[in-house]
Amino acid sequence: MLHGGFVPGRPYIVSGPPGAGKTILAMQFLREGLEGGERCLFVALEEPPNELKINMRGFRWNLDDLDVLDANSDIRRFEPTPILEISTEEEPAKMRAIGERIRKTPDFESKEVSVHSLQQLLKNLFLKRNYERVVVDSMTALRYFCMREFEETVTTQSFMRYLAESKVTSLLTLELPEEGEVPPEAFLARGEIRLHKLRDETGIKRFLSVEKYKGSSHDENVYPFDITNAGIVINMAPMLAVAH
C-alpha cells in the first residue's frame, strides 16, 4: 500500500479510535526493524511497560532486544511540593528485563514527564545509541498529559520537527474520537495510516487506509484487516471503494 514502505528518517502517524489496533501495528513496525538488526525504541506514555510486555506475549514475536522507555507520569502529588521532572538520564529497559508488576510511585517524590524533559531525554538517548526506529505511544497522551504549560499544537509541531531532525523513522500513534474531527497531529506528519473501526451485526470490522503520504505515491483504497496471532494482516483481495 505504501509502495514499498516509509521514506526513512521521517515521522509518521498511525491513527484510529481506541481498540483499533494502533499499538499492535506500531509494535509490528519495531519488530520488523529488530529482525533486520536495527536498534528500536518504544516510548510508552499510555501503558506501563509490564502490561505492554504481557499484552504482546500473545503474538509469537521476539521482542527481547526492544528498548522500552517508561514515560508514564507518576501519581500526582497534591501537596505543594516542587514538581520533579523525569530525569534526562533515565535509561530505557530491554523488553526481556521488564518485570511482571507495575512500577510504584515512591512515597515522597513523584516524577512528571513533560514534553520538554522527554525531548531532552530522547536527545541524550539518540546520541548514545543510534536508533533507527522509534515509536511514541501515544501522541495523544503526550498532548494531554505532558504539555501543561505549553501551547499544545505548537509544541506538538516542534516535537515532530525534533524527531525529523534526529533522522529516525518514527511512528506516532494518535487516538481518534469515534466521530468528529481529526486532531492537528495528522496534518503535521509526513504521512498518516488510519485505522477504522466499524460495527455491524457480525461484530467489529477493521479497515486500514493510507490517508496521506508525502514524497511517494500510495494506494488510495481502503482495505479490511484482521488481528491474528501474527499481528495485523491486511486482506488485499477485496477492494473496497469506500469514499470519504
Partner: protein, 373 residues
C-alpha cells in the same frame, strides 16, 4: 469477527471473572488481573448492576471487594441492590458522596479524606447527615487518599489486599471534583493510581460526547459498553466490548436483560434481536434518533434566541408558551408534533428579533481627548 485474535486469548494467565456469564465468554474467560477497565453506557443502562455483579463474584471467591460510591449514598445503593437475590453483606462500601454544599465558602470546608467512612454493606443503615458546621467536599485528592487509607487499613486488619474495586462513577468525579482544574492530567494520575493498586478495577463512566476523546477511555485497558436504544416502542439493551488490551474477544454486540439474578447476556439470541442493533442502518429506530436530535437542536437554538430576546426586551411571552407545548410533545415522544411546533416557534422568533432594533453596541470606544490650548 471470530477469526480476530481468537488465538491471542489462549494465554496461560488467570482471568478475573466479571460474574456475568455470557460476558466472561465474550472476554475469552474474563478480564486481565490488576488493571483498570471502563464500563460505559447511558443512564439506566445497567452499569452499576454490572459492576456490583463483578464485586459479588469476587465475594463468592472470598476476595475482599471495595465499592467506592460517588453518585449515590450507600443506603440508596443498598436499597437498589436489595431487589436482587444477592448476598452483599461483606461488600465494603466507601462513601465518597459530597455533602450538601455549604453555600458560604469558609475555612471549615474540609476534604472528605479526613473522615473515612467505609462499612460493610450490612451495616449501612441511614444516609450520612451533612454536618451543620462543616461541609465535606470531595476532591480527586481526597478520594485517592481515602482509597489509599482504606487499602492499608484493610491490609493491616486482615492481611489481605483488595482484589476488586469499583469506582461509581468517574462522571461524578469529573463533575464534582475536578471543577476548574486540568481534568486530563488529574484523570491520568487517578488511572495510574488505580493501576498501582494492583486490583482489578471497573471505572463507571457515562460517555457524554462521542466527538470528544475522553481520557479515561483511552487510558483504560479495555471498555465494556452497555447500549440502550428505542426500537419502536420498546427499549432494547445490548452489550459490546469496544477495546480489550492484551486479549482477543468476541466483538459482536449481544442482547442483554436484567432480571432477579442480575444481568444476563444472550450469546445465541435470535438473529431478529441482533438485526435491530443501533448500527447505522436506515431503520425506524435510526430515523427516530435523528428526529430526536433534530428537535433538540431546534429547541436549543430557540432557547438561545429567547435569551437574546430577553436581553433586547422584545416581548415573546406567547412564543414561550408555544415552546412549552413543543417540549411537552417532545416529552410524550410525539416527535412529529414537537418538531412542527418548535419550527413554528423558531421562525416566529426570528421574525420578531429581525424587526426589533439592534442592541446598542456593547461598548463604544472612548473618544480621543480633545486638545485644549
Amino acid at each position: 469477527m471470530g477469526r480476530v485474535v481468537r488465538a491471542l486469548g489462549r494465554l496461560s494467565m488467570d482471568r478475573v471473572k466479571t460474574g456475568v456469564a455470557g460476558l466472561d465468554t465474550m472476554l475469552n474467560g474474563g478480564l486481565l488481573p490488576a488493571r483498570p477497565y471502563v464500563v460505559s453506557g447511558p443512564t439506566g443502562s445497567g452499569k452499576t448492576i454490572l459492576a456490583v455483579q463483578f464485586l459479588l463474584d469476587g465475594l463468592r471467591q472470598q476476595e475482599p471487594c471495595l465499592l467506592v460510591t460517588l453518585d449515590e449514598p450507600p443506603i440508596e445503593v443498598k436499597a437498589n441492590m436489595a431487589t436482587f437475590t444477592w448476598n452483599l453483606d461483606r461488600l465494603k462500601i466507601l462513601d465518597a458522596t459530597p455533602d450538601i454544599r455549604a453555600h458560604k465558602r469558609q475555612r471549615s470546608v474540609i476534604d472528605v479524606g479526613t473522615s473515612l467512612d467505609v462499612r460493610d454493606m450490612e451495616d449501612v443503615t441511614e444516609i450520612r447527615q451533612s454536618s451543620q458546621i462543616r461541609a465535606l467536599e470531595v476532591t480527586v485528592h481526597s478520594v485517592q487518599k481515602m482509597i489509599k487509607q482504606e487499602f492499608s487499613h484493610h491490609l493491616e486488619r486482615t492481611k489481605q489486599r483488595y482484589k476488586r474495586v469499583v469506582i461509581d462513577s468517574m462522571t461524578a468525579l469529573k463533575m464534582f471534583a475536578m471543577q476548574g482544574q486540568d481534568s486530563r492530567i488529574l484523570i491520568q494520575s487517578f488511572v495510574r493510581f488505580l493501576a498501582e493498586l494492583e486490583a482489578t478495577t471497573l471505572i463507571i463512566s457515562e460517555r457524554l460526547n462521542k466527538k470528544i476523546l475522553e481520557t479515561e477511555f483511552f487510558l483504560a485497558r479495555g471498555e465494556i459498553r452497555l447500549n440502550k436504544w428505542i426500537d419502536g416502542s420498546v427499549i432494547r439493551r445490548a452489550i459490546s466490548i469496544e477495546k480489550f488490551r492484551g486479549s482477543s474477544f468476541d466483538d459482536r454486540m449481544h442482547p442483554i436483560s436484567i432480571g432477579d439474578n442480575g444481568m444476563v447476556v444472550y450469546l445465541d439470541a435470535p438473529a431478529q434481536t441482533r438485526v435491530s442493533t443501533p448500527a447505522p442502518k436506515p431503520g425506524e429506530s435510526l430515523l427516530e434518533t435523528r428526529l430526536i436530535d433534530e428537535v433538540s437542536n431546534v429547541i436549543e437554538s430557540i432557547m438561545r434566541q429567547i435569551e437574546d430576546a430577553h436581553r433586547r426586551q422584545v416581548p415573546i411571552r406567547d412564543i414561550e408558551v408555544s415552546l412549552s407545548r413543543a417540549m411537552l410533545a417532545f416529552q410524550r415522544r410525539n416527535y412529529q408534533k414537537a418538531i412542527k411546533l418548535a419550527l413554528a416557534c423558531d421562525s416566529e422568533l426570528k421574525e420578531r428579533l429581525g424587526k426589533a432594533p439592534l442592541p446598542p453596541p456593547i461598548s463604544t470606544p472612548p473618544r480621543p481627548p480633545q486638545v485644549i490650548r
